[in-house]
Symmetry: C2
Amino acid sequence: MEYPNENMGKIGTIDTSSLVDKAEERIVQYIQENKMVIGDVLPKELDLALNLGVSRTVIREALLRLKTIGLVESKKHKGAVLRNPDVLGSLRKVFHPSILDDATLKDMFELRLGLEVGMADFIVKNITDEDIKELEDIANQVGSGDTAQTWQVEDEIRFHSKLYKISKNRILLELQVMLMPIFNYVHESGLLSSEVVTGDFVSHKELVEVLKTRDADAYRNAIRKHLNNHFKRILG
Amino acid sequence: MEYPNENMGKIGTIDTSSLVDKAEERIVQYIQENKMVIGDVLPKELDLALNLGVSRTVIREALLRLKTIGLVESKKHKGAVLRNPDVLGSLRKVFHPSILDDATLKDMFELRLGLEVGMADFIVKNITDEDIKELEDIANQVGSGDTAQTWQVEDEIRFHSKLYKISKNRILLELQVMLMPIFNYVHESGLLSSEVVTGDFVSHKELVEVLKTRDADAYRNAIRKHLNNHFKRILG
DNA sequence: AATTATATTATGTCATACATATAATGATTT
DNA sequence: AAATCATTATATGTATGACATAATATAATT
C-alpha cells in the first residue's frame, strides 16, 4: 500500500496541472489533429489565448516550452512555425559535467563505450574507400614526431568522430558530440578506478585494417579490444 | 566565400540573442560560479530581474527554459530549486513518431539495435542469478499455448526491458523506454524493407543460456544474431 | 521592373495587479 | 513540552494592458 494511512483507500487523483500544462497539451493536440507538418504555423498567441480561454501569458509560456524542446520556432510577425525537431537539442544544455551527478556521468561514460561497439554494423555498411583513406591518415598522424598527450587526445577524438560520421546516423553523431566532453571529463576525473594498461591493445591502424575487410563481427571485436582499457575501468 | 556579395568581407557578427537568451545564460553562469548543488534554490524572480536589469517576464521565460530542460523545478513560496536533471526528460515529448521525420525514425531504429549489442558488457557484469531466473521465466512463457502475435510482442518487450534493467545504467534504460514505441512503429511501418526470415535464429532461451556463462563476447554475438532479422532490414 | 517608403501585424518586453499555494510563525490544545 | 491548528508573509502563477521591434505586405517612387 502506498498511502500513509492503511485505512486510506484510493479516491482518485486531482488534476494539479497548471494552466500552462494544459495549454501545452492542447497545442500539441492541435498540431496532431490538424496533421500539421514542418513549416506550418500555429495560430497567433492572441487567438490561442482567446480560444483556450486563458491569458496570453499562459500561451506564451506553453509555446516557450515547445520552443525549448525544439518543436517550434517563433518568427516575428509570422508566428510559431513547426520545425523538424532537433531531437537532441534540448540535451545540449544539460550535458555539462558540472550539473550532472556522478552516477549519471558514469552512465554516460558507459553509454559512449556501448555505442561505439554497437554501431559496428552501421560503420561497415556505409564505409567507403575514401573513408578508409581518411581514417588511415588520421591513424598515421600519431607517431609522426610529437607524441605529447594533448595531440594524442585530439587524434583520438578525430579518429572516433570520423567513425561516427561514417555510420551515417545523425542521432548517433549528435550523441557522440555531446558525450565526448563528458567522456573526457570522466576519464580524467577521479570518478573511475585508476587506469590500467593491458597487453593486447588494438591500435587505430589495426582498426583500419580490420575495416578494410568489411567484416562487422571482426570490427566489433576489434573496437571492443581497442576500448578495453576504458571498459576495464568500469567493469573492474 | 559564404557571403552573397564577393566584395563583402567579414565585419564581425552582431549579437542577436534576445534578453531571455542572455538571462538564461547568466543564470546558468550564476549556478556554476556559486557552485550550487542539487537542492539549492536560486534567488527569487524579482531579485534576478532587479539584478540583471530586466523585467520579471524575461526572468520567468529564462527560468521556464531551465525548467523545461529539467535543470530546475519551481516550488511556490520557495523558488527555483536545482534538481538532479532528468537528462532525457526533455526528449520524452519529442519522441513521438508523429512529429519525427522518416530519416530520424530510421536513425532511432538503428540506435536501439546498436545499444542492445553495445551494452553486452554491462549486462554480463551486473547480472545476478535472480535476473537469469526471471529472464528464463519470461523466455518460457512464450510457446506456453498462446502464440498470438500480440503476446509475442509483449514478451519481446518484457524480455528486452529486463535486459536494460540488468545493465544498471539509468540512461540506457530511459533511452530504451523512449525508443521502444518508436522502434515498434518503424517496425510495423512501411519505412524499412520488408521482413526477412533467416535460418540461424537465436531465441530468448538460447540468450539466457549464453548469459549463464557470463561471457560478454559470446553474449554480444548471440544478441547480434537474435536481432539479425531487424539488422537485415536496414543493412539490406 | 526594381527599389524605396509606409503601414500593418505578431512576437518581444515591460509594468502592475491580484490569485494561490506553501513555508514560517505564532496560538491553542493535549 | 509536544503536537495540532490557525495566521501571516512570501514567491510563484496568472491576468491585463501597453509599447517596442522586426518582418511582411502594400503603396509610392524612380
